[in-house]
Symmetry: D2
Subunit: 339 residues, 4 copies
Amino acid sequence: MIVKMKKNATKEHYNELTEALKNKHFEIKDVSSETVIIFGIIGDTSTLDINDLQAYEGVEDVIRVQTPFKQASRMFKEEDTIITLSNGATVGGHEALMMAGPCSVESETQLTTIAASLAKDGVKVLRGGAYKPRTSPYTFQGLELEGLKLLRKVADTHDMAVVSEIPSADLLEIFEQYVDIIQVGARNMQNFQLLKVLGKSSKPILLKRGLSATIEEWLMSAEYIMSHGNSQVILAERGIRTFEKYTRNTLDVSAVLAIKELSHLPVIIDPSHAAGRWNMIERLSMASLAVGADGLIVEVHNDPKNAMSDGAQSLKLDKFSQTLQTLKDLANSLNRPLL
Amino acid sequence: MIVKMKKNATKEHYNELTEALKNKHFEIKDVSSETVIIFGIIGDTSTLDINDLQAYEGVEDVIRVQTPFKQASRMFKEEDTIITLSNGATVGGHEALMMAGPCSVESETQLTTIAASLAKDGVKVLRGGAYKPRTSPYTFQGLELEGLKLLRKVADTHDMAVVSEIPSADLLEIFEQYVDIIQVGARNMQNFQLLKVLGKSSKPILLKRGLSATIEEWLMSAEYIMSHGNSQVILAERGIRTFEKYTRNTLDVSAVLAIKELSHLPVIIDPSHAAGRWNMIERLSMASLAVGADGLIVEVHNDPKNAMSDGAQSLKLDKFSQTLQTLKDLANSLNRPLL
Amino acid sequence: MIVKMKKNATKEHYNELTEALKNKHFEIKDVSSETVIIFGIIGDTSTLDINDLQAYEGVEDVIRVQTPFKQASRMFKEEDTIITLSNGATVGGHEALMMAGPCSVESETQLTTIAASLAKDGVKVLRGGAYKPRTSPYTFQGLELEGLKLLRKVADTHDMAVVSEIPSADLLEIFEQYVDIIQVGARNMQNFQLLKVLGKSSKPILLKRGLSATIEEWLMSAEYIMSHGNSQVILAERGIRTFEKYTRNTLDVSAVLAIKELSHLPVIIDPSHAAGRWNMIERLSMASLAVGADGLIVEVHNDPKNAMSDGAQSLKLDKFSQTLQTLKDLANSLNRPLL
Amino acid sequence: MIVKMKKNATKEHYNELTEALKNKHFEIKDVSSETVIIFGIIGDTSTLDINDLQAYEGVEDVIRVQTPFKQASRMFKEEDTIITLSNGATVGGHEALMMAGPCSVESETQLTTIAASLAKDGVKVLRGGAYKPRTSPYTFQGLELEGLKLLRKVADTHDMAVVSEIPSADLLEIFEQYVDIIQVGARNMQNFQLLKVLGKSSKPILLKRGLSATIEEWLMSAEYIMSHGNSQVILAERGIRTFEKYTRNTLDVSAVLAIKELSHLPVIIDPSHAAGRWNMIERLSMASLAVGADGLIVEVHNDPKNAMSDGAQSLKLDKFSQTLQTLKDLANSLNRPLL
């Protein structure tokens, strides 16, 4: 960390802070010039909070030069993390992985219809919401436990893995029973109590990026899970909030490149939530593969207009089959097959 | 709601959607012109989700013209909501209310020192964090239950009410036992499971605005709490994320005016988190009173540089006393006393 | 346009506004329900300003349902606009087009070296800044007229077209003499005086998207140029400002899809300014082609570390050659060759 | 400046960059630890561009620790800059200053009516737009030269100073003839050619903050004007773009505090453009005075609903008179009279 003192900071201010840091076993290296007093703090600064240092008198600015995450960092682990699911599918390895399914589980008929079609297409991971975090309390909130059971049953028929979003920590035991990948929704990305509990799970965690989260904050949330014991974290970019309203969110494809530089964790893209428009999914998926994402998670529905949520951004089954074929062709020409 | 159809939408597309809406007992009023097909949906549209309508073929855009919140709306309840705390202090009435205390409860000594000073200043509500949602897992996470007990004990000595942040739904019973106002942190503003549970509490809820939340989303979160049975919601503006990095967040004083137009709920301002710099607190508090906020929540500390969190934005006790006097003078000249 | 009246709006408020609109030959269609007073305004509403209508008493909200741009709209012209440059290269047609060159023209040696290498790679358009809009007055401001002359001379040697940024309207005559495509920089996207003047030019205009501009604002700036007589507008997405700081800006690939739906104008991508990091250019260019951009504009330099501007985001000549080959392969597999 | 090298940077990378800097007469101070290579650059780093340094191989990050602006900095000039207008009114001194007038000059009748009312209220500065930068080419573009002449004539009748927005550099001579303060609009804040030319003017410049500009960028634009010779710059905060759409922009009152820390220049607030709603102007003006702004610039109109622009955010004349009285009372209680 670098500390810049105020112009009017006194020798006492300087000494007070540097002594306190030395007492915590940090080394101080001064870089002051004639016009500015600056020093570096050497040591494991991940335990220091910028705001705490700024409370010292005379401090003007504190700048972090090392990432605050450790286990999530590529400095910590150089090779890519590859996560293997119960059915043998992998995320983060040579092949990119497709996950697909309805936004919400609505009925057994709906789910069996969709899963059968996906299975025929070769999809290995079934997504589906059982507990639905909706912005309005007056809209469909999900089938809850019933939904999880349906997901498990239907997925097992086709040897698919299940990914579904957990809404709160107390449901962990149930989720561990029914799903293969536990999803943390964008709005819960900084629900630290939930992250701590998931750190004790043996299941892989799909961590969605928060609506306005920076990449550093996202990786710090991964760090919460990892530092509590679970190193199987899959990151999912799903668009960030910007001033542009034509699309629901703005898909940040550069985030994939940034994650690959900063971290060893796999990162996939959710083009459905990013765009909020089904007719953009194919092209955004193509861009995602081209930029190097480790996979995709896409919403499909047998009957979008009667979907109980997010119909606008769901692909119909036949459209999905075509899209998947286009994506597989592209993936092959990129030398990274899509499973 | 207003639905605009695409240029190439067919009569069938139009009929399919309008029939579906009529079946749900909505009335359709057509406003089409020669160049564009548009119709209005008449009825209680809070049960309709924009995304669901957009899933219909031929739909170009769906625009909501009525607010999606009901109980939180001033249309629902015209007069201002006034919330009375256990010690008789009120929020939302003629007087503005000051809440103050440390970011984190750190020890009995710290808390008694601070509370004694605040009580002497006449402060009626003691804030303090027991469960701390920190962005890094490697920093102080709070005294937890011990912190809540300390808050209760110390507050009782001075007949103060206690406000503290709840991190997850399973702790509700404990919070109801020890605190008077249950705070929902900015990062949990859309933790809908938590909001639902708080809707069943008899305690007032202090709902912080999310880091990038719109006012509508914020009021929808209030609606979650209210629609589950708890109408005692206090809104707290704490700065929103913008591109400006000199301040930690950007205090949105206009939000107070917007809330007063849209809702009957009280709204207070947290200048400490907004600025992240203690030397801005006095002036931002003055602006908050001038714009018409129903109160303030301010971080103070007896020894900011040794604070275990957020020292940079905490006022020292004597500085707080002076600031409070300045604010009371201003409040009096604005004909709205500050308690 | 849709107008929603306030709950307490009177019959007089309603009549005053609707009569004023009828006097301007608009038709009024009422869509009011029991709880809300709403009406539609039928006619060419591009001449109406939302703010003007909101000045009427009793008005709560005014919502535009038709795009405010006309000539730039796909409603106005269905088929894609294809722009042919002086050397026969096209933008917006079957082939995607590569434009490349240094951020700033620095010397004849620099420019000849770069252009020779690009020409060997088959690049048809040479970019280069002569008048440099820098955020600091203390950094290199460009070779100005001398730079334009060098661009023309060097480009002519290789039958390349020239694109360069115009800083102000008074330089139009000079730019028309030396360049083939006149670029409007992101910071000038809403310099309306400049746009009006460019509307009278016979040269194609490359209109960069503003740092925080919405797609609608961007197309309105294109409309300024088109409504003054110049229909040859090429749009260039170059990343938008977001909270993420790891990349200089966030490349908005979805904008290409949105532009293709809303407008007939060609749209290219500038991955260099978007990322601000040369090592992301290849992958972002791949994503750009995959999403369907009509071309790319890339910064290259023979000696990035001694570049007088933007060295960090410039590709070296040999790296560019390799990248171009990778992109051409991808373009071919997408059935849209890159020239 | 602080430079952090990549983990895999070699000794050669390090030497190449540090030698280049030493050749430019900068001093290098190393602060490397075991895990990270970092050094400080000592000297006048305002001539260095971060992007240029990042072009060197092995560089991971470059962090500026001194502000890139000089003449605009409080480090450069400690005492507040006070600007005296032709009629003796001052900005930045003990008294706060009110500027008011219509968004657009529309006719002699309109302007005389408004100015007479403002003069009776004691307002010393008349604002009015003659050249209007509108987002749509199809809306009123201003009376242009005729408008400037009217402003001068009407203002002279009441010994008022005139402030009006300049759209492009070629009009400087005309503006110098007719106005007392030349305004740079938000959309032109980074029109560097315009700023350079204004640096040669003897008139004070009112520099509006760009829609998404950071405070540093805003001060760098002031620096452009100052470094070209004109030190009379008044900054005007007018709201920044955020995700909140209930208000047109979000008024950033903290910006006043930041400017007062970083710079000696006066800063005023434009509540009309910030809110876009006339009924918020009074309260936002109160907050502006409370936070310590050096003045206000407010839109008024004798007949808002027939205004040719921005009627929604204009106060009627009698409402303005009342508001001004309220503001003067508040200003007096704050011990900073409003003129």
